[in-house]
């Protein structure tokens, strides 16, 4: 069933696209993810995830303007679609619902 469930990494990528607003292209997403999660994120994986997200209809993409950097190649910018936003919200709600039922935040002691 496509387009409903988000994987953990997919969710992170989607959030990144949303956060980067109009500057969300593969290399930037990769850098942003590395910065926030602290783990090395491989370009190959991001590419695979982006193409999967696009296939699911959660993101849209368009080619930007040609610049002199990148060997004259255009960037492909991504933006989150409505379906993408819905999926993000759904994921967030599911998490919050779970957080809410954790009794009295006694998680602190176990950390």
């Amino acid at each position: 069933m496509k387009g409903t469930n988000l994987g953990e990494f997919e969710e992170l990528v989607l959030l990144c696209i949303a956060a980067l607003v109009s500057d969300a292209y593969s290399v930037a997403i990769c850098d942003e993810l590395s910065k926030h999660t602290g783990r090395t994120v491989r370009l190959g994986i991001v590419h695979a995830v982006l193409s999967r997200l696009e296939e699911k209809g959660l993101v849209n993409s368009r080619l930007g303007e040609a610049t002199s950097t990148r060997g004259g190649k255009r960037k492909r910018f991504y933006e989150v679609t409505h379906a993408g936003k819905a999926a993000l919200l759904k994921a967030k709600e599911a998490r919050e619902a779970l957080w809410r039922i954790i009794p009295g935040f006694n998680l602190e002691g176990s950390i």
Binding site: S26, G44, H47, T69, K75, R76
Partner: protein, 893 residues
């Protein structure tokens, strides 16, 4: 869908260090496999990363990372779907190439013939080498554990001499490994040399069997048709027959459980094994349980189980799966050190040899089954490669020479839109088609060559059968395609770089004679190789004949050596002496000068200086008639005087080298007679000194040799000197005499001269092979030269006509046309002849202690042959051109 991507050139990034681009080949690879939708995106991303890496990690690492990334991005979601159209276009293009190939094949029949004939002949030699190699590689493939089976081999080193490597080892080594060392799965000890006459009822069959212990079938996978592999070799006097042997002994009757008598001992047949495949290094007619050895040969002989008795026993073991032999090798080295402690002046080290390296590996003494040194394969492969390359050179030369005609075709193709890569593909496929067509003819030639090759020498047909198989045909195709690629690469590059506009606009500007130096170089190379081959053949043949006719120091003419085969010799000698055409008969343990050797150690105490000295000397045990019959010359002393029984010998005859080695009586032969030496703790008096003679082959220097007297030599030979005009009658009489003595074994008799010829048989084979290859090399080179001459005269026909009209003579024209080619041949001779001389003088002939000096004619003859051949080829064509009617040539445009 694009077939070939023309990547838009990217604006170069200017940095302080200049332009740094990712590797171009990797970029093209990416563009080739990546789907168009994401290609640009991906290229840009990788470029960005590349830039970063250049800054942080340096250019080299950045390029490497780019490559790795390009390869890593080869994923399902990035790769283009192979579309039917792409495939279809390929098919169309290839069939179009095939069409042009056919046309150009027919258009110039002479060139096509030269190409196809040359390639076919050279490929067929290549096929032969491939088939031979495949056969050798398939040895011992029948064993399930073939990759885990190892043989324990020994290195035998006397303190004063260089080490000798043996395939055999001691029984003790096998037993000690079994007891004291871990890290192997199964181990089996076998022993060769069970010869006997199997007797069933009144039926005798001489049998050559191998002793093997009960683990034999755990290590090896020889199929046992009847009997239990676990127990069949357990009890003493158990016998396993192969199917063929069983049929010979018992006919159709059941063999299992029956008894077979050897001499006085009964053996029970406990199993019937399938006949041993040709491709097994271990070959046997029957197996005898190893426990029999303990009960017979080894019984009461403590020395038999010594660490030093390494002559006839073989130990094979299997390693557990997924382990390497390293630990075991170390353990074996430890074991050797331990055992060698007890030895004086001698070291025997045991090591491992993988099963697959037994047949195709380094040659060891006492090896069982056929072996082939890898150098032989390299040698044959090298020869095949040389003539294949020669044929490829022809192809290159003729293709480029024809460039004028085909350039316009290429020009038109380019103008209507073919990129360089298409032209490249076209010419490559043409050469591959040519090679495949050649393969077709080569195959028939191979079938003929195969027969010749197997008949070269019994050794060759023993080692290989060169049977066809699907795998082999596959290799053949691979070989042909690679030859096509090699031959076509250079012309394809040449044509793909042609400037289309220039060719089509004004084709007189097109330079036909471009690359002329490369073409000349190729001709020189071909002729250099041909000359080396011919000179090698001639020198080799003369040396070989020289070996056969060398003055050995004794006479071998008309001497027939009859192998005694364990018979009492006195009776036979008596019978033989009664034949009127037999002049004299003698006996000897060894037939000398044919390569085999028997050694012993003698000691000499110098009476003057009281120094002790001992050394290895070669030995022959002979009877009283031997020396006169072979006309050995005495320097001093005389033949044996006493004729004692075995064990009571007190006399010894030595050669001059013995005196030299031990400095006996200051090397004075007269005084040396009467001196004493020690052998096996017995004092022996020197009664005679013979002139030095060749005990070994021409490869070895003359070494010290001693003769001992005996009449008991069951495994020796009777030497019969014959004087007759009716050889068949004499041979029949001798055979009659033999049959009176031995009814079971057929006579084994050979003339001494034939035996010597066999000893140098490998050289004969080598000369035949090189001779054949040089013949092919000359043929191919001549064809190539012929093609070039035809081409040159054709292109220059108009020039010749004009010269003729203006008054040039025929002779002058011939000189003009052939000058260039003759200079090339001169250069080839200038390189080849000194090279051959150095090769023989410094490398080949140094391996032979005795050889004939090289002669000038051996070098001039090949030159003459080639010059005459070339003169005929060049002369016929240039003469034709010079004589042609100039008016006709100039009128018809």
């Amino acid at each position: 869908m694009r077939l070939f991507n023309t990547t838009p050139t990217s604006p170069h990034k200017q940095t302080g260090k200049g332009v740094i681009e990712p590797p171009r080949l990797a970029q093209r690879l990416l563009a080739w496999y990546c789907r168009t939708e994401i290609l640009e995106d991906l290229q840009g991303d990788l470029y960005e990363y590349f830039d970063r890496n250049v800054e942080t990690k340096g250019i080299t690492r950045a390029r490497l990372i780019y490559w790795i990334d390009v390869l890593k991005f080869f994923r399902l979601y990035t790769v283009r779907e192979p579309s039917f159209t792409t495939f279809y276009i390929y098919i169309i293009m290839i069939s179009s190439y095939f069409k042009t190939f056919k046309r150009s094949l027919v258009r110039n029949k002479l060139f096509s013939f030269i190409n196809i004939f040359g390639l076919a002949v050279s490929i067929s030699v290549g096929l032969l080498v491939v088939a031979f190699l495949v056969d050798l590689r398939s040895y011992d493939d029948l064993h399930a554990k073939k990759d885990r089976i190892y043989r324990v081999v020994s290195t035998y080193q006397l303190s004063t001499q260089s080490p000798m490597e043996f395939a055999s080892t001691s029984i003790k080594a096998g037993k000690r490994i079994r007891e004291a060392i871990t890290g192997f799965e199964d181990l089996t000890i076998i022993r060769t040399g069970f010869y006997g006459d199997a007797q069933v009822g009144d039926n005798y069959l001489p049998l050559n069997a191998t002793w093997a212990d009960e683990s034999f079938f755990k290590v090896f996978s020889f199929p046992l048709l009847k009997g239990d592999p676990a127990t069949a070799l357990k009890e003493p006097y158990s016998l396993i027959l192969t199917e063929k042997t069983a049929a010979k002994l018992f006919g159709h009757a059941e063999a299992l459980g029956k008894t077979v008598r050897f001499d006085t001992v009964n053996y029970v047949v406990t199993g019937v094994a399938a006949d041993v495949s040709k491709f097994s290094h271990l070959r046997f007619e029957a197996l005898v349980s190893f426990s029999t050895v303990d009960a017979t040969v080894g019984k009461g002989d403590p020395g038999f189980y010594n660490w030093t008795n390494i002559w006839q026993n073989y130990v094979y073991l299997t390693l557990p799966e997924n382990t390497d032999s390293q630990t075991l090798t170390t353990n074996l080295a430890g074991l050797s050190v331990q055992e060698n402690k007890a030895l004086k002046d001698l070291k025997i080290d045991v090591g491992l040899q993988p099963l697959k390296e037994i047949t195709l590996g380094k040659s060891l003494s006492n090896s069982v089954g056929p072996t082939m040194k890898p150098t032989v394969i390299y040698f044959l492969g090298g020869l095949a490669l040389v003539i294949i390359l020669s044929a490829c050179f022809n192809y290159m030369n003729l293709s480029i020479a024809r460039a004028l005609r085909r350039a316009r075709e290429v020009g038109i193709r380019k103008i209507i839109g073919a990129p360089g890569s298409h032209i490249f593909g076209q010419f490559m496929s043409e050469s591959v088609f040519t090679a495949l067509l050649s393969l077709f003819f080569a195959f028939f030639f191979f079938l003929f060559l195969r027969k010749q090759f197997l008949n070269l020498d019994t050794h060759v047909s023993d080692v290989a059968s060169l049977e066809l198989s699907f795998k082999l045909i596959g290799y053949f195709l691979v070989l042909a395609v690679s030859v096509g690629i090699v031959a076509g690469f250079f012309p394809a590059v040449f044509f793909s770089r042609i400037n289309a506009l220039q060719v089509v606009k004004d084709h007189s500007k097109f330079k036909v004679f471009r690359h002329v130096n490369i073409r000349k170089g190729l001709i020189v190379l071909q002729y250099t190789l041909s000359l080396i081959f011919i000179a090698t053949t001639i020198i080799g043949y003369r040396q070989y004949k020289g070996f056969l006719n060398f003055d050995l120091g004794f006479k071998t003419e008309n001497i027939l050596n009859i192998s005694l085969q364990n018979n009492k010799s006195d009776l036979l000698i008596k019978e033989l002496a009664e034949i009127p055409t037999v002049e004299a008969v003698s006996r000897s343990a060894m037939v000398t000068s044919v390569g085999s050797m028997q050694g012993t150690t003698i000691k000499y105490i110098n009476p003057k200086y009281k120094t002790k000295d001992s050394a290895m000397v070669s030995l022959n045990v002979i009877d009283g008639n031997y020396l006169p019959l072979h006309q050995h010359k005495f320097v001093a002393g005389s033949n044996f005087k006493l004729r004692p029984k075995t064990g009571e010998e007190s006399e010894i005859i030595v050669n001059e080298q013995v005196l030299k080695r031990f400095n006996i009586a200051e090397q004075n032969a007269q005084k040396a007679v009467g001196e004493q030496v020690m052998m096996d703790n017995k004092n022996l008096t020197i009664v005679g000194v013979v002139k030095d003679f060749h005990y070994g082959t021409m490869e070895n220097k003359i070494e010290p040799v001693v003769f001992l007297y005996s009449t008991e030599m069951p495994w020796g030979s009777a030497n019969v000197k014959i004087k007759t005009n009716d050889l068949p009658a004499t041979m029949a009489a001798i055979e009659n005499a033999w049959r009176k003595i031995d009814k079971v074994h057929p006579i084994k008799a050979e003339f001494y001269d034939d035996q010597i010829e066999q000893a140098y048989g490998q050289f004969e084979v080598m000369i035949k092979v090189i001779g054949f290859i040089s013949f092919l090399a000359i043929c191919i080179a001549s064809l190539g030269l012929f093609g070039m001459v035809v081409f040159t005269t054709e292109t220059r026909l108009k020039e010749i006509s004009i010269r003729k009209v203006l008054g040039a003579t025929e002779g002058g024209l011939i000189y003009l046309l052939s000058k260039g080619f003759l200079i090339l041949l001169g250069i080839a001779a200038f390189i080849a002849l000194p090279a051959t001389y150095i090769l023989f003088d410094k490398v080949v002939l140094t391996k032979f202690a005795y050889h004939l000096p090289m002669q000038v004619y051996e070098f001039l003859l090949p030159l003459l042959v080639l010059m005459v051949l070339a003169a005929i080829l060049i002369g016929s064509q240039t003469l034709k051109a010079a004589r042609s009617n100039p008016v006709k040539n100039l009128k018809t445009e």
